[in-house]
């Protein structure tokens, strides 16, 4: 079985972030990490590989040329090889442009199961998995909190809902997006980190994927950021110190605000 884990490179949560004059995120190589949610994506790919002998795991990412470092970090967890889709024409892609590229790359790689995180920790859009499925004309099993591939022909998931879950299934090849409760990602071992440096890592350009540069990247983006500002929240900020009388103060506050 061919398993592909699709990941995104994001700035680390603690990194200083700012927009450039073109209102695009200023990406600094030293702050780049695999999207934290995608650790669950990679982990699930590895667990399915362990369950299905002879499977291969490819880690796929669209990003700047420097994202090879991010892919090496991902490969330190495991997996057989990585593919980076990188092209200067891809800068400024929107979510639909990204999905178009991932769909083309998935087709070129060939897959039975393509795994995604439910969203990335930077923009938190969560629309790429479903849009990619649409471009491929394939089913998406989204928000999976459990995944079972029985008989190599059907994917079954437990699907996280607001309360509880339901179950869903789709024939392979299929796309699956995962939520955090699906697994506990492993830490890369020293051996894994060493091995990651020798694993094959291919880079695809738009030409390799047969995509027209005008159909992706900033050229095709249909949304535009016009300004940004720091958020300041004005709050009453009343403080009360000590255990004594604290509960009464909260009750009085709730009554003042007509909540109680």
């Amino acid at each position: 079985m061919n398993i592909v884990a699709c990941i995104k490179e994001t700035p680390s949560t603690t990194a200083e972030k700012s927009f450039g004059p073109d209102m695009r995120l200023e990406r600094r190589k030293e702050d780049a990490i695999p999207n934290p949610f995608d650790e669950y994506t990679i982990e699930e790919a590895l667990r399915q590989q362990e369950k299905h002998a002879g499977s291969t795991v490819t880690i796929l990412c669209m990003g700047p040329a420097t994202a090879t470092d991010t892919l090496r970090k991902a490969l330190a967890m495991g997996g057989d090889r990585a593919v980076l889709v990188s092209d200067s024409a891809l800068a400024g892609s929107d979510a639909i442009g990204t999905a178009r590229v991932l769909a083309a790359a998935l087709q070129k790689i060939g897959f039975d199961l393509a795994l995604f995180g439910s969203a990335a920790a930077d923009a938190y859009g969560g629309v790429v998995p479903s849009a990619t499925a649409e471009f491929l004309g394939l089913p998406l099993l989204s928000y999976a909190s459990k995944l079972d591939l029985s008989g190599d022909s059907t994917a079954r998931i437990q699907r996280a809902a607001e309360i509880g879950y339901n179950e869903a299934e789709a024939p392979l090849p299929a796309l699956v997006s995962v939520v955090k409760s699906i697994n506990e990602p492993r830490y890369p071992s020293m051996k894994g980190i060493m091995a990651s440096k020798k694993k094959p890592l291919d880079t695809f350009s738009l030409a390799d994927l047969g995509l027209d540069p005008s159909s992706v990247g900033g050229a095709a983006a249909r949304e535009r950021a016009i300004s940004s500002e720091k958020v300041s929240t004005q709050r009453k900020g009343e403080m009360y110190q000590g255990n004594e009388g604290a509960a009464d103060r909260v009750v009085a506050f709730l009554i003042e605000q007509k909540v109680l």
Binding site: T13, K17, D94, I96, A99, A121, A123, Y124, G125, V127, V128, S130, T132, A133, L138, P139, L140, S142, R156, Q158, R159, A160, A161, E162, I163, G164, Y165, N166, E167, A168, E169, A170, P171, K180, S181, R222, E223, I226, S227, E229, V231, T233, R235, K236, G237, E238, M239, Y240, Q241, G242, N243, A246, A247, D248, V250, V251, L254, I255, V259, L260
Partner: protein, 347 residues
């Protein structure tokens, strides 16, 4: 292209989700500003009842497509019908909600028809003959103003509870739309929805003596729709700490939230997580107990009308963005507060 504004309603097994009413209310407001008409799209079962509610929120027309296929398959039939309707009627704007359903359907339609799509929108302003959307960035530390470019219908994804509901509408004209056939390569719902898994979702963890702690069903009301939320974090010290939170929530008729630290520690299921990687909530009152207030948590609750924080660390960041900050031991204050609320309510 018309000046009409649509709302994509969400129906879960015959039950209309609240966000549908919020979206329809906003669609009516924007349609009035553009000189167009508001409509809602209701796909699923029990659509006739849904249509009346959507009309009450201002939809002049409801495109209602009744069919079990919408309950039986994820996303694909819904996207099929919505895409066809958009092609037929060319609305200016379609509002969809930031739920699992909304994201999956809108993304497919945007990909299929090549439409502009924006998500996590918290505010919409009409400026000139276009709109400006406000979207949080970097975990809510910044807000970005966005515009759509290009031709065609625009798909605007709203955060849950971004818009209030108002019922100033009337009886809508209901247009029946055929439900599509079963998709050839479909993601099929194969197991029961909801309740069976709810017990698992309500599993708080294990007490020190090894017994399982379960959360009563009543306090598992949807966080996104709760008016009052009592939330717990690392300061609770363990899964048993959530019992106090649970008791206070029960007394207040509130829902229970949690910080990522508490979820990652395994004290409470992910379904309760509030923040950038969890749920976005906007209750009237948010009571944060033992939560330090990291920027990622603030991203999920920072727009609550009132924030009360109880934390023994006077330097906790949450005290920088609360309305009432209590520097005290929550193990003392929370039980006292629960008792005081019960007394006040005569319970």
């Amino acid at each position: 292209m018309s000046n009409d504004v649509w709302a994509l309603a969400e129906i879960n097994n015959g039950k209309l989700a609240n966000i549908s009413l919020q979206l329809t209310t906003k669609a009516a407001e924007l349609a009035a500003a553009f000189g167009g008409s508001a409509a809602a799209v209701a796909l699923g079962t029990n659509t006739q009842a849904a249509a009346q509610e959507l009309g009450a929120c201002g939809a002049k027309t409801v495109y209602a497509s009744e069919g079990e296929v919408y309950n039986q398959y994820l996303t694909q039939p819904h996207a099929e019908t919505l895409a066809t309707l958009i092609q037929q009627h060319q609305p200016r704007l379609v509002l969809w909600g930031g739920t699992n359903y909304g994201r999956d359907v809108a993304a497919r339609v945007a990909a299929r028809l090549g439409l502009s799509i924006e998500y996590n929108v918290g505010e919409v302003a009409v400026e000139g003959d276009g709109i400006v959307m406000t979207v949080p960035a970097f975990g809510g530390a910044q807000s970005v103003k966005m515009q759509f470019t290009g031709e065609g219908t625009k798909l605007l994804g709203a955060r849950q509870n971004a818009f209030p509901t108002s019922r100033g509408g009337g009886t809508p004209q209901v247009e029946q739309v055929h439900a599509p056939a079963v998709p050839a390569k479909g993601a099929k719902v194969s197991g029961p929805f909801g309740t069976e898994g709810a017990e698992e979702a309500g599993h708080l963890g294990k007490a020190p003596d090894g017994h399982d702690i379960w959360m009563p069903a009543a306090s598992r009301a949807k966080l996104e729709e709760a008016q009052v939320i009592v939330s717990g974090g690392r300061g609770l010290g363990g899964p048993q700490g959530f019992q106090q939170i649970e008791d206070l929530a029960a007394a207040l008729g509130a829902s229970v939230g949690a910080s990522r630290a508490a979820v990652d520690a395994g004290w409470i299921p992910y379904a309760h997580q509030v923040g950038q990687t969890g749920k976005t909530v906007k209750p009237t009152v948010y009571i944060a107990c033992g939560i330090s207030g990291a920027v990622q948590h603030k991203a999920g609750m920072g727009t609550s009308s009132l924030i009360i924080a109880i934390n023994k660390d006077k330097d906790a960041p949450i005290f920088q963005f609360c309305d009432l900050g209590i520097v005290a031991d929550l193990n003392v204050v929370v039980p006292q507060l629960t008792a005081a609320v019960k007394r006040r309510k005569g319970q």
